[in-house]
């Protein structure tokens, strides 16, 4: 086991635990400002987590251990994403590489945990959110795997670290049509997977429109804190992945303290910039009907499939 990989993984986890609430805070603040409100300030998500940890968790009478374990499982899966994805550096673990199928499966642990938490409350809302959430997750899967598959072809491996590394070494492939198609498809898949607009409205509490909020509606106290933190971490980690695929510069490839510092700063800036862009974009988007989501996802799937076949037949 190489020590540099362990250090980088540790730095990534600590950094993202701090960065993810900040990212969400910045995004909310940008949305508020662009739509003409004052906003709660960029540190509000942090204050929310602190507040939730100081409350008694209230649990439903007939609920099982799932209500307790599910939030923890979601948080662990998100933290594992932060460990395994090439965010600050591209030095992979030797035996658990940041393999795309492993990454997606680790992410699915969180998806399943959240869906089961939604069901365990025993209310119609939880079930509704859970059902919609799983439907979207099932339809996102093909796009997710195919778009990363398309990116893996020039690198000749499915390890995300090595894909980022290849893009750093030969930057011209970043703007190739294949890569652009794949990134667009991946971005749509990530928007759907992290419950952002136009699939789900993260700012809403209107029951009929929600996915994520419907599932966590019966959770409180630290249960809710873990669920929120886990979702934020997942968003931040996946945005970090997209950022590193599009702009790989600044990623640590040769381990040194200076490079590590630079890596931390660049990924922080990249993620926050992408978050601001996303937030501004979301202001001008409306949530689409649930039954139009499959059409959106089918479109993104078509892009990803085009990217894969094009990279076989053109390149």
């Amino acid at each position: 086991m190489n020590w540099s990989a362990i250090v980088i993984a540790l730095v990534q986890v600590v950094l993202f635990v701090f960065l993810a609430p900040l990212l969400v805070g910045v995004m909310r603040q940008v949305r508020a400002r662009v739509s003409g409100r004052v906003g709660a300030g960029i540190w509000q998500p942090w204050r929310d987590v602190r507040k939730l940890l100081r409350k008694d968790p209230v649990r439903a009478q007939d609920s099982s251990w799932m209500l307790r374990a599910g939030p923890v499982a979601l948080l662990v899966s998100s933290l594992l994403l932060c460990v395994l994805l090439p965010l600050v550096g591209t030095v992979p673990f030797s035996r658990i590489p940041s393999d795309l199928f492993v990454i997606v499966s680790v992410m699915l642990i969180g998806v399943v945990a959240l869906a089961l938490v939604g069901l365990d409350g025993g209310t119609a809302f939880g079930g509704m959110g859970s059902s919609r959430h799983m439907t979207v997750a099932a339809l996102v899967e093909p796009t997710f795997l195919l778009s990363i598959y398309a990116l893996s072809i020039p690198a000749g491996t499915s390890t995300l670290s090595l894909i980022v590394q290849t893009r750093l070494d030969t930057p011209e492939i970043i703007i190739s049509p294949v890569s652009v198609l794949a990134i667009v498809a991946l971005a749509i898949a990530i928007m759907a997977e992290t419950n952002r607009l136009p699939v789900d409205n993260p700012g809403t509490h209107l029951e009929l429109t929600m996915l994520h909020e419907a599932m966590v509606i019966e959770s409180s106290g630290r249960d809710l804190a873990w669920l929120e933190l886990g979702s934020w971490l997942k968003l931040a980690a996946l945005l970090g992945l997209v950022a590193n695929l599009v702009i790989p510069w600044g990623v640590v490839t040769d381990f040194s303290v200076l490079a590590l510092l630079l890596g931390v700063i660049t990924i922080g800036v990249k993620v926050l910039l992408l978050g601001v862009l996303l937030a501004v974009g979301e202001v001008f988007l409306a949530k689409i009907r649930l039954f139009q989501v499959p059409e959106l996802l089918a479109g993104s799937f078509a892009l990803a499939f085009l990217a894969v076949t094009a990279s076989y037949l053109v390149a």
């Binding site: 079930g127 899967e141 076949t309």
Partner: protein, 672 residues
């Protein structure tokens, strides 16, 4: 006599003794004695298979006076693997059978059929010639048919299932027989060694391949020969459905492997594409039907079609890639197919046994009337949950490793040394990845639904509210199966190495164990170590646990009827989402494929149209292939039968006239 021969004879003897005791012993002892003997039979098969896997040779030879090759039962390494798989399932099922036997399942015939069924499944992989293969195949079919009919007196649907099963298994048998016959006619021998000498690419090879693929595909529940599955597996007693789904369908897989590896190894690319198409279609169709089903056992039955579809998809990818000499990816795909089959045997047997436990406790297999079983049946919930994770291919279970390997082989299959292998492969591989991904996603939804609706939240019926966990003898095989799912997922390295060695000396190098039970694919350059993943998860879990402990000291949990309850105070269990409502978005999305029929009846209150007293919604999703493909054929046969009734009305005079006319025609033809 060799060890293998002794083992096979022991199996025959044990099966005969078990059958005899079932027929003769007092009813009170029947389950215990015959069940134990069946378990011993499974252990004997396990030992023989394990010996064969280590490379032991030998067997039994039965010379025949007929003009064909002698019957030889001598399993090779691959046969040994499948003997082990069916025997492990047989062992779980036999123990479970002792604990669960109540009602008609304890009858003399039902108990006598179990050892016959197990023996038949154990002998098919041991056969080295087509005649003994088909004999063992029919023993297996006979045993399973009798077992299926155990409950026929109490439910009418069992009889219909029996007819479907008999018809479809005889269709399979006929196709396999015809395929072997073509090979035997072309090569002049009935042993597999003689048949394998057929010239590759000849029309006989192509024809035999098609017949055998369809025959074995029918046994392995592939679309469109799967129509017996959603009827038979739910109607059979649960331990029998576990044996059928966990073990018997693997015999179909074994048959397909026999064809692709032993009989017709030099395959043209289109064979691979055909197998992939069949497998991909089955995987998608199966999981789609499973995801919208509310009947727990129908759901599991369709999910078997999906899993077998994935097995055939990877087998087809392997055949296709081998025909293009992409050896590393082809080997990985082949090992993935074997791992998928092995892991499916374990988790699906466990799931069916779990479904049996639910039926045992509640008498209910409709998910819409279950709920809250997690706290009432903790052991069943635990094992069903772990097996569900395996079926949904979540780490760290056996299903995950198998799918990981399949996807690795697919994404490395399109190119060889940086060059495009072929246009066909570079279109087939991405499509296959998409099929596997969509299947995996829908499987996730299916098993979240199955587990979440049955075990979580609050009971939706009084039967579910009063449920208790099952007796020890039923719990034990359940837990054993769940442990197997975890063990296969935690140490895939040694498992993959053992499995790889059974298909050939070259393949043994394609998957090697690394580290703490991890697996590496050297030809592809991919590594996975699930134990490390667990260690990593444990490490990130530590700080969270500390935070929870600190927080729990000052902020203990509070139990409330419902914390928020959607803002209302009257949250009743029937307001919860049911399995039907859970799958509703999916039914809408895949409207064109599923063709659901919905019936909404609104009863208004007497005073006003605007007030609703009751709304009743019924939704049924029928099997499109059955209604569109089989129904027309069956209707045609029926119409023909009605016409034929006039021709054969029982009148002797009429029959004499037929004979006379026939005789005249013969005379005329002869004189011409």
């Amino acid at each position: 006599m060799t060890n293998l021969g002794a083992g096979l004879i022991l199996q025959l003897v044990l099966a005969a003794v078990a059958m005899l005791t079932a027929l003769t012993i007092a009813p009170s002892l029947r389950a215990t004695v015959t069940g134990s003997l069946s378990a011993l039979l499974a252990l004997a098969g396990l030992t023989t298979g394990a010996l064969a896997m280590t490379g032991a040779t030998g067997g039994i030879l039965i010379p025949l006076a007929l003009p064909m090759d002698a019957l030889i039962l001598a399993p090779d390494r691959l046969g040994g693997l499948f003997m082990v798989v069916v025997s492990v399932v047989g062992l779980l099922v036999s123990i479970y059978g002792i604990g669960s036997a109540t009602g008609p399942a304890t009858s003399r015939t039902a108990w006598a059929a179990l050892p016959i069924f197990l023996l038949g499944m154990q002998l098919v992989p041991a056969a080295t010639d087509s005649v003994s293969f088909l004999l063992a195949w029919e023993i297996m079919t006979l045993g399973s048919t009798v077992l299926l009919l155990a409950d026929h007196a109490s439910r009418a649907s069992v009889a219909s299932a029996g007819i479907w099963y008999s018809a479809m298994s005889q269709l399979s048998f006929f196709l396999v027989l015809a395929g072997f016959a073509v090979l035997a006619a072309a090569t002049g021998g009935t042993s597999f060694a003689a048949m394998a000498t057929i010239e590759p690419g000849s029309w006989a090879a192509n024809l035999a391949f098609l017949l055998l693929l369809l025959g074995f595909g029918g046994k392995a529940e592939l679309v469109p020969l799967h129509v017996w599955v959603p009827r038979v597996l739910p109607e059979a007693p649960s331990h029998v459905s576990a044996a059928m789904s966990g073990a018997m369908v693997k015999i179909g897989v074994y048959g397909a492997l026999l064809v692709c590896l032993r009989l017709l190894p030099e395959a043209p690319p289109w064979w691979g594409i055909l197998i992939m198409l069949l497998g991909g279609a089955s995987a998608l169709y199966g999981i789609l039907q499973a995801s919208v089903s509310s009947d727990l056992k129908v759901l599991l039955a369709y999910s078997t079609t999906e899993n077998m579809g994935l097995v055939f998809l990877s087998l087809g990818a392997s055949v296709l890639l081998r025909s293009y000499d992409a050896v590393a990816a082809a080997d990985a795909a082949l090992i993935a197919a074997l791992l998928l089959a092995v892991s499916h045997a374990v988790f699906k047997a466990t799931l069916f046994l779990g479904a049996g436990a639910i039926i045992h406790a509640t008498g209910e297999r409709n998910l819409d009337r279950l709920g809250g079983l997690g706290s009432r049946m903790p052991w069943t919930a635990l094992s069903f949950g772990i097996a569900s994770l395996g079926a949904a291919a979540i780490p760290v279970t056996s299903g995950f490793v198998a799918e990981w390997m399949l996807l690795q082989s697919l994404i490395h299959g399109g190119r060889l040394n940086g060059e495009v292998v072929s246009v066909a492969a570079s279109v087939a591989m991405p499509l296959a990845v998409a099929v596997v991904a969509l299947t995996a996603g829908l499987a996730l939804l299916t098993f979240v639904k199955a587990y979440g609706i049955a075990f979580l939240a609050r009971p939706r019926s009084s039967a579910a509210a009063l449920a208790h966990d099952v007796p020890l003898l039923m719990r034990f095989p359940l837990l054993l199966g769940a442990l197997g799912v975890l063990a296969l997922g935690l140490i895939p390295g040694p498992v993959a190495a053992v499995v790889a060695a059974t298909v050939g000396p070259q393949t043994a190098l394609a998957a090697v164990p690394v580290g703490l039970g991890g697996v590496a694919l050297p030809g592809i350059g991919a590594v996975l170590d699930p134990v490390m993943l667990v260690v990593l998860s444990a490490l990130v879990l530590i700080p969270i646990l500390i935070a929870i402990i600190v927080s729990a000291r000052t902020h203990p949990e509070r139990i409330n009827a419902l914390p928020w309850g959607g803002g209302g105070s009257r949250a009743r269990p029937r307001m919860q989402y049911t399995a039907t409502s859970y799958a509703e978005p999916l039914v809408r999305v895949f409207d064109d494929v599923l063709k659901p029929s919905r019936d909404v009846q609104v009863t208004h209150v007497g005073e006003s149209r605007y007030l609703v007293e009751r709304v009743k919604i019924e939704q049924t999703v029928s099997d499109v292939i059955e209604t569109r493909l089989y129904r027309p054929v069956l209707n045609l046969m029926q119409r023909y039968g009605i016409v034929a009734r006039y021709a054969a009305n029982g009148s002797i005079h009429r029959y004499l006239t037929y004979s006379f006319v026939a005789f005249l025609i013969v005379l005329i033809v002869v004189s011409l």
